[in-house]
Symmetry: D3
Subunit: 278 residues, 6 copies
C-alpha cells in the first residue's frame, strides 16, 4: 500500500491496486482554486510520479456541483489589485514570475510519469480546462458544462489551455470559437470535437469508468506505460523524425526489461503477468 | 463609427458595434480572384488589424453562387504563359517572388490582430480553402461544396492550404484524401472532420450566425481577445513549453489592463462591461 | 507496363494504369512480420517511389483473417532473448541500431514519393498501426479490429505509432486511451476519431475503393500529386511560416511544368489530360 | 544602369557594375536614426532586392564621425514620453506594433536577395549593431568604436542585435559581456571575436575594400549568389537535416540555369563569364 | 543589504552594491561536488534570481588549487555501484530521474534572472565546464587548466556541457577535440576559441575583474539587464524570426519602465542614474 | 584485426589499434570525386560505423597535390548537360533525387557512430569542405588552400557546406565572405576562424597528428565516445532543453556500462583500462 497523502483541499485514496484517486475537495466553493491548492496539487503529482505503488491516477472533483469552477476570482483579484509598484515593467516582472510558477504547478500533472485520467462533471470552467488538458485521458459525465472562461474576465487563458488545446482536439475552428466566445458548451460537443473521448451517464459512472481504465493501465508493465506516455508527449511537439530518434534511444534501455519476457510468457501461458515496481 | 473602406471587389460594412463585414464582391465571376483582389484583401485586413473601431470581422462572398471559385484561372494563366525568360532558374526566381507575395496577402488575414470568421456557401474551391484557413473560425451554409482544387490544374496548392490544413482538422487521412483527389465534398463532411465548426441551413442564416458570433466576441475585452488569438496561433506551431513561456511574457503586460477590473466588477454587478478602444 | 516486382511475402501487381497494389502475403501467419518482410517492404517502396510507371499505391493484406497481426512475436523474441552481451550499454547500442533500421524500413513508405493508400481489414494490431500511419490515406473494412498492442508485450511502440498518431487524429485523449490500454477498438471508432477516413462494408469493397481512389489520383498530374504529398508531410511537422517558405521554393520549379498548361487546356476542352511520366 | 534612387537621408550610387552603394547620410547628427530613416532604408532594400541591375550592395555612413550613433534618442523619447493611454496593456499593444514595424524595416536588409556588405567606422553604437548584423559581411575601419548601447538607456536591444548576435560570433561569453555592460570596444576586439571579418586602416580603405568585395561577388552568377545567401540564412536557424532538404529543393530549379554551363565553359576557355540579369 | 545566505560548502557575500559573490567552498577536496552541493547551489541561485538586492552575481571557487575538480567521483561511484535493481529498464528509469534532477540544479544558474559571471582558476575539470557554461560570462586566471573530463571515466558528459558548448564557442572542430579526447588545455586556448572572453594574470585579479564587471552591470537598469539576459538565452536556441517576436512582446511591457526616462535624463544631466529595485 | 575493406579509389588501413585510416585515392586527378567515389565513401563509413574493431577514423587524401579538388566537374557536367526531359519540373525532380542521394552519402560520415578526423592538405576545394564539415575534427597542413568553390561554377553548394558551416565556425561575416566570393584562403585563416582547430607544418605531420588523436580517442571507453559524438551532434541543432532531455535518456542506459567501473578502477590503480568491443 502507498504512504499516506494528506493535503488540504485534496483527498488522495488508493481504491484499486496501483491506482491513486485524487479528488479536488473544496465543494462548498465549487472546487474553485486558491493559490495553496495549486501548490498542493503540484506537490501531490510530483510525489505520485515517483511513487512505486502508483501506476495510474484518476483526478476528479468532490461534490455534485462542479469539477471546478476555475480560479477563485475573488481571492485572485485581491492579489491582483494590490500590487506594490507603479512601474509597469516591475509589475510585469512580478506577474511573469507568478504565471510561470502557476504554470509549473499545472505542468506537474503532465510531467507525472504515470498516466492521469481526468473525470469531469457539472461546472468545468476556466482552470478546469487548463488542468484537464495537462492530463492524459479526459472522460466526463453527461451533465458537464464546459467553458474556456478567461476572456470573460478580461484576459487570455495563461495556465495552459491556449498552448495545449490546439494539439488536443479535432478542429482549429472550434478551438477558436470556444476560446474567443467563452460560451458554455455541453458534453456532447466536447465529445464531437474530441476534447473528451468518452461521455458517461452520470458522475458516478464516469468516476467508475475512470477507475476501471486506470486499473486496466495499472495491470500493464509500468515500464511500457511510462514510456508510452513520455514518447507520446515528446512526439506531440516535434517532427516525426525527432520522435523516432527519441523513441529509439528510450527503448534501447527499456526493451531490456524483464517485463517483456514476463509479458510474452504470460501471453503464451494465458495468465496475468505480475510486474515488479517502478 | 469606423472610417470608410472603399476597395474594388470588396464591400466593407460595419453592421454591428465593433464588427466589420468584408464581402468578396465579384459575383458575376463567382468571386474568382485576380491579382488586384488579393492585394486589396491584404490592404483591408492590415487596416482592420489596427482599427480601434473593429474587434471582430466576418468574411463572406457576395451572391448566391459562390464564396469563391478560387483563382481566376484565365487571368492567372495569361501571366503564367508569358514569361520573358527561357532560363528555368530565372523563371523560378520570378515565380518564387510571386508566390511569396501572394502568400503574404493571404497571411495578412491570419496576422490581423482581430478574430476573423469565414462564412462559406455554394462553390468554395481552391483559394476558398487557402483563404478560409487563414481565418480563425469557419462556418458554412448547408449548400456549400468544397474542393482543394489545385491538383486538377496541375499544381500543389501553394497559398496556404497545404501548410495550414494539417493543423486545422481531425484526420490526416482525410486531409490527404481531399488534397490528392481534388474531389468535391459537402458541408456535412467538412463538419464531420472539423474543417468547419458549424453548418447552417442557408447562406443567410450562416452570415447571420457569423455576425452574431462576431458581436459576441466584440463584446469582450479587446485586450483579452487579441491575446487569445495571438497565443493560439503561436502555440499551434510550437512546443507546449514554448507556448507557455510566450504566454507568460504576453500576459505580464496584458493582465495589467483596466479591463480585468472592469470585467470582474461588471460580473459582480451583473451588467455588461464597457471596454475602451484598442 | 511496370517491371516485375518479385518479393517473398509480398504480391505486387498493377491492376490499373499507373496504380500498384502491394499485398502483404503471409496469410497462414496472419501476415505477421518477420525481419525479412520489413526489409522487403522497404525495398519495394524505395523502388515504387522512383518508378515512372507508378503514380499511386494501395497496400493491403492477403487472406481474410488479418491485415497484419503485427510483429511475429515468436521470431522477435528469439532475437531478443539471445543477446551476446551482458553489458546493458552495449546491449542498448545494439538495440538502438536495430530499432533505427526497422524504423527506416517503415519510413520508406512515408518517403515514397507517390501516395500510398492503406486498406485495413480484420486483425490490425501493433505493426498494422505503425505501418498504416506511414501511409497517406487509411480506409478499412467494417470488420477491422484495431489495437495498439505494444504495452501488452511490455514495451512502448517504437516503429512509428507513438510519433505519428498524435498528428494524425482528432483527439489527444483518445490517442492516450488506445495507446495506454492496448484495448481492441472497431472500425466505427477509428472513423469517429479520424484514424481512417472511410469504412466500407467488406474487405473486397474496401480494396476496390482503395484502387478506385488510387486510380483517381493516378489520373492527375504526377508533378502536382508528388508535390502535394511532400508539402503536406513537410508542413505537418513545422510552423506555418516554414511550410509556406518551403512551398514557395518547391513550386518555383514545379509550376513551370507542361502539366499546368495541359491540365488547363483539357479543362477548357473538357477532355481527360494525358501527362508524361515522372 | 540602374534607375534613380532618391531618398532623404540616404545616398544611393552605383560605383561599379552591378554594385549599389547605400550611404546613411545625416552626418551632422552622426547619422542617428529617426523614424523616417528606417522606413526609407526598408524601401531602398526592398527595391534593391528585385533590381536586376544590382548584384551586391555596400552599406556605409557618410562623414568621418560615425557609421551611426544609433537611434536619435531625443526624437525617440518624445514619441515614447507622450503616450495617449494610461492603460499599460493598451500601451503595450501600441509599443509592440511599433517594435514589429521597426524590426521589419531592419529585417528588409537581411531579406534583400542580394548580399549586403556593411562597412563601419568611428562611432558605431546601438542601431549600428542591429543594422550591420542584418547585413551579410561586416568590415570596419581601425578607428571604429562599437557599443551595444541599449542597456545604458534602460532597455534591452529590440531591433535585432540580441537575436542575431548569438549566431554571428565566436563566444557566448563575449556576447553577454558586451550586451550586459554596454562597454565600448575597438575594432581589434570585433575582429578577435568574429563580429567583423576584416579591419582596414581607414574608412576610405574599408569602403574601398567593401566595394571591391561587392564587385567580386557581382562578377559571379547571380543565381548562385542569391541561392548561397538564402540557404546560409535558412540553415543558420534550423537543423542540418532541414538545411539539406531545403537546399535540395532550391537547387532542383536553380541548377537548371544556363549560368552553370556558361561558368564551366568560361573556366575551360579561361575567360570571364557574362551572366544575364536576375 | 541582502538577507543572510547560509549554506554548507558555499560562501555568499555582497562585496559591492547589488553584487553577490558565491564561492564554492570545499577547498580541501578541490571543491569537488557531492550531491548536497548541487542541491544547495540550486537553492542559492533560485533565491538570488528573485532577490531585489541582487543585480549581478560572481561565481568562483575557494582556495588556490581548483575552481572545482568536478564531481566527487568516489562519492558518486558509491551511489552508482549500489543500485537495488537488476532490471536494466528500472535502473535506467532511476538514473534518468537522477540526471534530470542534477541537470535542473545546474540549469538554475542559467535561469537565474540576474547575470552570473564565472571566474575560473587552477583545476577546472568536468563539472567546472557544465557549471560555468550555465553562467553568462566566463573569465579565468592564467593558471587555469580545463578539461571536459567525462570520457575518461567512461561516460558522456550529461549535466550540460555537451548541450551548451556547441553554442558557446568558436569552432565545432575544437569542441569535438576537447570533448572526445578529454585532454587538459590552458587558459590561452580557452581564450583563443572563445570559451572565456578574458584571461587575467592571477586568481586575485580575475576575481577582482569579475566583481568589477558585476558592479558595472549592477549600475545599469535592472529591467534592461534582466531583459537582455533573457532575450539572449531565448534567441540562442531559436530562429531569428522567433527571437524578434519574443523580443517585441517582452519589450512591450518593459519599455514602459520609469528606468528609460531616468536613464535618458541622467545621460543628459551627466549623472549616474538611480534605479528602483526589481 | 578488422576485416578487409577493398574499395576502388579508397585505401582503408588500420595503422593503430582500433583506428581506421581512410585515404581518398585518385591522386592523378587531384582526388576529384566521381559518382562512384561518393557511393563507395558512404559504403565505407556505414561499415566503419558498426565495425567493433574501429573506434576512431582518420580521413585524408593520397598524394601531395590535393586533399580533393572537389567534384570532377568534367564528369559531372556530362551528366548535367544530357537530361532526357525538356520539362523543367521533371528535370527538377530528377535533380532533387540526385542531390538527396549525394547528400546522404556525405552525411554517412556524420552519422558514422565513431569520431572522424579530417586531415586536409594542399588543394581543398568545394567538396573538400562539404566532406570535412561532415567530419568531427578538422586538422590541416600549413600548405592547405581552401575554397568554397561552388559559386564559381554557377551554383550554391548543395552537399552540406552551406548547412553545416554556419554552426561550425566563429564568424557569420567570414562564412558569408568565403561562400559568396569563392576566394582561396590559407590555413592560417582557417585556424583564425575555427574551421580547423590545428595547423601542422606538413601533410606528414598533420596525418601523424590525426592518427595520434584518433589513437588517443580509441583508448577511451567506446561507449563514452560514441555517446559524446551523438549528443554533441544532436545538441548542435536543438534547444538546450531538448539537448538535456535527450542526454538524460541516452545516459540512462549508457551509464550502466561496465566501462565506468573499469575506468574508475583503472584511474585509482593508475593503469590503462581495457574496454570490450562495441
Amino acid at each position: 500500500m502507498a504512504d499516506k497523502y494528506e493535503y488540504e483541499y485534496f483527498n488522495v485514496t488508493f481504491p484499486r491496486e496501483y491506482v491513486a484517486h485524487v479528488e479536488i475537495n473544496r465543494p462548498e466553493k465549487m472546487n474553485a482554486f486558491i493559490e495553496n491548492m495549486w501548490l498542493n496539487l503540484s506537490a501531490i503529482f510530483r510525489r505520485l510520479s515517483h511513487d512505486p505503488n502508483v501506476r495510474a491516477v484518476v483526478l476528479s472533483g468532490a461534490g455534485e456541483r462542479a469539477f471546478t469552477a476555475g480560479l477563485d476570482v475573488k481571492a485572485a483579484s485581491q492579489g491582483m489589485l494590490t500590487r506594490d509598484t507603479a512601474d509597469p515593467a516591475r509589475a510585469a516582472n512580478a506577474i511573469r514570475r507568478h504565471i510561470l510558477e502557476f504554470q509549473d504547478c499545472i505542468t506537474a500533472v503532465e510531467k507525472c510519469e504515470k498516466p492521469v485520467i481526468a473525470v469531469l462533471h457539472s461546472i468545468s470552467y476556466g482552470l478546469a480546462l487548463d488542468l484537464s488538458l495537462a492530463c492524459d485521458i479526459r472522460l466526463c459525465a453527461r451533465n458537464t458544462s464546459f467553458s474556456v472562461k478567461e476572456v470573460d474576465i478580461g484576459l487570455a487563458a495563461d495556465i495552459g489551455t491556449l498552448s495545449r488545446l490546439p494539439r488536443a482536439v479535432a478542429s482549429a475552428s472550434w478551438v477558436k470559437d470556444i476560446c474567443l466566445t467563452a460560451r458554455v458548451f455541453p458534453a456532447s460537443e466536447a465529445l464531437q470535437f474530441g476534447l473528451v473521448s468518452q461521455v458517461l451517464d452520470s458522475k458516478t459512472l464516469a468516476v467508475e469508468k475512470g477507475l476501471e481504465t486506470a486499473a486496466l493501465i495499472a495491470g500493464k508493465s509500468p515500464v511500457a506505460v511510462v514510456g508510452t506516455k513520455e514518447i507520446l508527449n515528446y512526439s506531440r511537439d516535434r517532427t516525426v523524425e525527432d520522435g523516432l530518434k527519441y523513441t529509439s534511444v528510450w527503448n534501447a534501455a527499456m526493451i531490456q526489461t524483464q517485463d517483456v519476457k514476463d509479458a510474452m510468457l504470460s501471453g503464451i501461458e494465458k495468465r496475468k503477468p505480475v510486474f515488479s515496481k517502478l
